[in-house]
Symmetry: C3
Subunit: 161 residues, 3 copies
């Protein structure tokens, strides 16, 4: 700033180039950002099962398929499809809460049934955990069998937002 | 700015720190950006089925598994696997068009068959809806049954652009 | 900058507004960024199968379900579940390596078994390809059949980093 007049110019120049740089940044940032999620974060189970409890990537929590495992880890809860379904939703709620999330974060599920005839019974329990208008996208099918002889396995994706 | 000489220093300091901050921002922005998609957008069905038509998250449209439901909503279209498959593709096309998308946005599918012996017949109809070189990634398996006694259920993911 | 005293004020103003703009940018950038992944990239198979080898979208590589196909492309490797599983992991490793990735990029799998009784035998081979604490999230179920009469099909998602 050689004198009072030119001082004004020297000070205003960075303003213009900063504005231009900010505009470019704002336009340019989104493209590389979306293509490069951070590395997956694994949430291992505390036992020796060959899968994680969940893995997070790109704002999605991928939960392993859940069955109605008893709290003591020794097999399934008794009572068949309905109590297994309630236990699945309870455990999934716990898994989500441990990460500050609720069942309303779930947006996509896959329903694996030991007997497709139990589809209506499963639905009756399942919907009670969601708000109408907020049901996850979903597929369902009958299998020839599930781990530990479970009646149902439920795999969900949740928004880790 | 105590005098004309020091004025230059006072004005040039912000330049350097702004440049450094912008450089840091440009490097830092992508990482948090990719980890934080906006909240899922639910597209509910107009009936009382326990699942959404589709849910969008992070630029992916997660479509519920589709079966060959008749336009009147009362069961399946008649004619077995091939007409059910055509109906599925037609409905999926409608669902996608309602969001400004086409079947070319589909990039991942899961094929659930009532009878794995119908895999070749399913494929013959299915491929006619896609361009060679643009077939979605896919898995397929035989089930013991599907909702409403369908011969096939198709679940797809589409790029929401 | 009309005089030396006011010069200080003129120069310090842009600083404050730049800091505010940067702060806003840093908060605002993530939202649009995550919602707009680039178009999916299809990696077609070299044969006429009706699915891609894999498709990449938003930093995730969606691999098609793999079965234990023999290197000559004529059916399955002999030997049943265990050799098919090893062949699947070998082929998946090749597919990943071709894109500069390793099996440690796999974060989510679906296991489709011709016979759920082979779940423990499958697990024994499968876990040998992953590090404890880094097992992918996973679901598994028994099917009534798979393409080419395979004993197992494995579908995985990998971080495309």
């Amino acid at each position: 700033m050689r004198n009072d007049r030119s001082g004004k110019r020297v000070c205003s120049r960075p303003r213009a180039s900063i504005a231009a740089t900010l505009a470019l940044l704002a336009m340019a940032a989104p493209v590389p950002a979306a293509a490069r999620p951070a590395a997956p974060v694994f949430h291992p189970r505390s036992d020796d099962r060959p899968f994680a409890e969940a893995v997070e990537l790109g704002g999605v929590l991928y939960l392993s398929g859940q069955i109605g495992e008893a709290p003591d880890g020794k097999g399934l809860v008794p009572g068949g499809l309905e109590s297994e379904t309630r236990r699945i939703m309870e455990r999934m709620g716990q898994t989500l809460r441990a990460r500050g999330l609720g069942l309303d974060a779930v947006f996509k599920c896959t329903v694996m049934l030991a007997d497709i005839q139990e589809w209506p019974a499963f639905n009756a329990v399942y919907v009670s955990y969601f708000k109408p208008g907020r049901y996850p996208a979903r597929s369902a099918f009958g299998t020839t069998g599930l781990a530990l002889g479970a009646r149902v396995e439920l795999e969900c994706l949740a928004w880790a937002g």
